[in-house]
């Protein structure tokens, strides 16, 4: 099987995700980018799992999907609250923890 293609796809997805997390200012888009990163990992896991002919990786991927769903739930709730309080979801404006 052509493992490399999968890995390259995952790497590309991961890079796009990282770019999104670092560069986008919109909170929702950052959350979506995080999903991209997680799914890049999922692709890796499933790909390796398929090559090695075990199911461990797929099980891990399932868990990650479940956790990611929960994480996005929490994340969106935070964005929503942020919007209610500040009328904006621009992440660069949120710097209460500045030292």
């Amino acid at each position: 099987m052509l493992l490399n293609q999968f890995l390259l796809l995952a790497a590309a997805l991961f890079a796009i995700g990282v770019y999104g997390v670092l560069a986008r200012r919109n909170g929702v888009l950052v959350l979506m980018s995080i999903e991209l990163i997680l799914n890049a990992v999922n692709i890796n896991l499933v790909a390796f799992s398929a090559v090695r002919e075990t199911v461990d990786g797929e099980i891990f991927a399932l868990f990650i999907i479940a956790v990611a769903a929960a994480e996005v739930g929490v994340g969106l709730a935070m964005v929503l609250l942020l919007y209610r309080n500040r009328r904006s979801i621009d992440l660069t404006e949120i710097d209460l923890l500045r030292g």
Partner: protein
């Protein structure tokens, strides 16, 4: 037939651990006891608000059930200890214990003689019950229970105090806006402590240890709307985190050290295995020393030992029932219990046998002394008791440090009753006058609160340690255990800890004096507060009397060996049932009681009471009459006459400046000048004390030995402050507060690390 458990895997020695999977149903299923309050927590959380009494009935019922179960378990253990049927099991373990005692206890030539209370051939078999939680690298991580003497004793104490506190709280916090929430966490607090007590491995111990910490945080900050309360909760939690790091490191070190001694195994968290291997000398001594020191840090924070004790008085911000629970049963004794549980490790790590000083005994000794000194200058009745707890915990740690294991646990046992009694009594008094301030809002309460007054006095006498109340027996055993009484004749003990004996006896005098002060200020003189206080209701008074009764009789549980007029079957019962005799417990020696020592300590206590009593009941009383109002101290006392005395007093009021050290120097790093303390024994101060004792016993306590030395320390403090301030200034630049900047740093560092990995590999 019962199975004999040996060390895991294919160990060469096949050492029997002295634990069994047999035993009665109750002993095997001790997990039920922590489970019940845990269930109560969940129940109150989900259904409490809908119940007629806001969930408190659920808490009382389940904790009561747990208490009954604990009593049954204790009965089962007493039966098991003497009548367990597995004869060959006993023989095998006895052989192992004898061998192991011979190997490890060099310098204990008198082993056979002194340990005669525990007839070889009939060791105590801890009852072990585990299930595998998960497996990794062929190491099975288990959860389970190890029920033996100390565990059973703790089960009874914790459930009893917790039950009484639950009942008391139904009246004390009645009408509180978070009534249900309060009871939920009270239950979880008890459940966590019970889980800690029965833990079979250090991982489980760590988990329950943290749970206890979280619950204390929630309960101390119960009235978090007021800033000091939430600050106190945070302080308690964060101080405990410092020690928890020690615990985590210590547990990890032990895990791998044990693994190195077990062929074919990666590591082990099992407490019994760890202790047994430490006892046989198969573990590296260095590793044990380091692990003991790390675990000691955890004890220092959890059990309020010197240097990390500062959170404990502040924790008085919580509701009084919580303070009682924290101080008597659930929180602070966790550290002491942990040492008792891992005693094999500490015994070898600190070389307790045959020594005359070690870290644990020293920390305990210092703690007991400084806690007692600080108790003199408090206005808040609960803070007096808090410092008293610190002092008494110091006793326990010191006792463990000198090898008097049974004495330490016995003191824990008796202390739980009288300290819970004192705290609940203080709460009852404060409930009536709506304040904790003894000087401005109390006084004269004995007329209006007869029950609180009587129980409080009983608790105070027990704490001061006058025979025949509980505190006397346990305190005396600790003194005996120091073995440092060349002065008093007698033999035995694990070493010559004369220094510890001196510290202990000094503290006994101080304890008697500050409790006299506390009783006078609260219950005698004229009422200085507002309103008309009246006695509390039955749900407060009944627990008080139960605890006061126990404070009187608990001491008879462990009457010393050789006491005349007492049949031998009633001597040292506590030691017989609680102290494990198994290869997972070190072969400690027992001192023989000494009449002269007991007499001397009683005289010391009486003189403490006499001096403080003379000051308050004679001098202050007379001055009050002359002045026509209820005074709390002499107007022309020592501190107003002598500048040195005033300095000592200020030093104590400032709590040795430790809080300043922590918040200003270490944490803040900028407010240098008055922020540190150094101790210097000053002959002048001692002279002052001698003169002062007659005149002013209270203030005398203030200047014992220490003086704050500003000149020497200032330079160090300022420079360290400047250095940390500079470093902080640089570091804050990267703290932009923007989450994306942090993410960028994260990814960049990950890339660097990945690069390094590629280059190296």
């Amino acid at each position: 037939m019962t199975e004999l458990l040996t060390l895991a895997a294919s160990t060469a020695t096949g050492l029997p651990l002295g634990i069994t999977e047999g035993g009665s149903w109750l002993l095997r299923n001790a997990w039920l006891i922590p489970f019940l309050p845990g269930l109560s927590f969940v129940g109150i959380l989900f259904f409490g608000k809908r119940m007629p009494r806001g969930g408190s009935e659920l808490g009382v019922a389940f904790v009561g059930l747990a208490f009954v179960l604990s009593l049954l378990t204790a009965a089962a253990w007493i039966d098991h200890r003497d009548n367990f049927e597995g004869e060959e099991v006993h023989r095998a373990v006895a052989v192992a214990v004898a061998e192991h005692g011979g190997e490890s206890a060099e310098g204990h030539a008198d082993e056979g003689e002194s340990a005669e209370g525990h007839v070889p051939g009939h060791p105590s078999l801890g009852v072990h019950n585990t299930v595998t939680w998960f497996e990794m690298n062929d190491v099975a991580f288990t959860v389970g229970t190890l029920v033996d003497g100390p565990a059973v004793m703790m089960l009874v104490v914790v459930t009893l105090v917790s039950l009484l506190v639950h009942v008391y709280s139904t009246e004390y916090v009645a009408g509180d806006r978070r009534y249900t929430h309060f009871f939920a966490f009270l239950s979880l607090f008890s459940a966590s402590m019970l889980l800690l007590v029965v833990s079979e491995n250090t991982l489980q111990l760590l988990v329950s240890w943290e749970l206890v910490g979280v619950c204390s945080f929630v309960l101390i900050g119960h009235w978090w709307e007021e800033k000091p309360n939430s600050d106190a909760a945070l302080k308690a939690f964060l101080t405990n985190r410092v020690g928890d790091i020690g615990l985590i490191i210590g547990v990890a070190i032990l895990f791998f050290t044990v693994g190195s001694a077990l062929p074919g195994q990666f590591g082990s968290f099992s407490i019994a295995e760890t202790n047994a291997l430490a006892g046989t000398g198969q573990l590296s001594h260095t590793a044990l020393v380091v692990a003991s020191c790390c675990l000691m840090a955890a004890v220092m924070s959890k059990s309020g030992q010197f240097l990390l004790h500062t959170w404990l008085p502040d924790a008085m911000a919580g509701p009084t029932p919580v303070s009682a629970l924290i101080h008597a049963a659930t929180m602070v004794v966790a550290g002491v219990f942990m040492i008792a549980r891992m005693y094999g490790v500490f015994f070898e790590g600190f070389s307790i046998g045959g020594s005359s000083i070690n870290l644990m005994a020293l920390i305990g000794g210092i703690t007991t002394l400084i806690g007692a000194c600080l108790a003199f200058v408090q206005r808040d009745i609960k803070k007096v008791l808090a410092y008293s707890t610190i002092s008494q915990l110091g006793y326990m740690v010191m006792a463990l440090g000198v090898g008097a294991w049974t004495a330490a646990l016995f003191h824990l046992f008796t202390h739980a009753f009288f300290k819970a009694c004192l705290f609940l009594g203080a709460g009852s008094a404060a409930h009536a006058v709506h304040s904790f301030d003894m000087k401005s809002d109390m006084g004269g309460l004995r007329k209006v609160m007869p029950h609180t007054y009587r129980t409080f006095v009983i608790g105070s006498i027990a704490l001061a340690g006058l025979p025949p109340l509980a505190g006397f027996w346990s305190k005396d055993e600790i003194f005996v255990g120091t073995g440092g009484w060349g002065l008093f004749g007698g033999t035995g003990g694990n070493g010559a800890y004369t220094f510890m004996l001196v510290m202990g006896v000094t503290t006994a005098a101080l304890t008697a004096a500050y409790m006299t002060r506390c009783v006078y200020l609260t219950f005698f003189g004229e009422f200085r507060g507002h309103g008309t206080p009246h006695e509390s209701g039955p749900r407060i008074v009944v627990p008080l009397w139960i605890l006061a009764g126990l404070a009187i009789v608990a001491g008879f549980g462990n009457l010393p060996k050789g006491l005349p007029l007492v049949p031998e079957s009633l001597q040292e019962r506590f030691g017989h049932f609680v102290e494990p005799v198994a290869s997972y417990f070190p072969g400690i020696s027992h001192g023989t009681p000494s009449w002269s020592l007991a007499t001397a300590s009683t005289l010391v206590v009486l003189s403490g009471i006499a001096v403080a009593g003379w000051y308050y009941f004679v001098k202050v009383e007379a001055a009050s009459k002359a002045a026509g109002e209820s005074l709390t101290e002499l107007p022309d006392g020592l501190t107003t006459k002598y500048p040195l005395a005033r300095m000592g007093h200020t030093f104590l009021v400032q709590k040795y400046y430790l809080d300043h050290l922590y918040t200003d120097v270490i944490a803040g790093g900028t407010k240098g000048p008055v922020a540190a303390a150094a101790y210097k024994i000053d002959q002048d101060v001692i002279d002052g004390v001698v003169n002062a004792a007659g005149e002013n016993a209270v203030k005398a306590g203030n200047l014992v030995y220490h003086r704050f030395d500003q000149l020497v320390v200032d330079g160090i403090v300022n420079n360290s402050g400047r250095a940390s301030s500079g470093a902080g200034g640089e570091l804050r630049k990267i703290q932009t507060g923007k989450v994306q900047d942090y993410a960028a740093i994260l990814f960049a560092s990950a890339m660097v690390l990945a690069g390094v990995l590629i280059v190296i590999v």
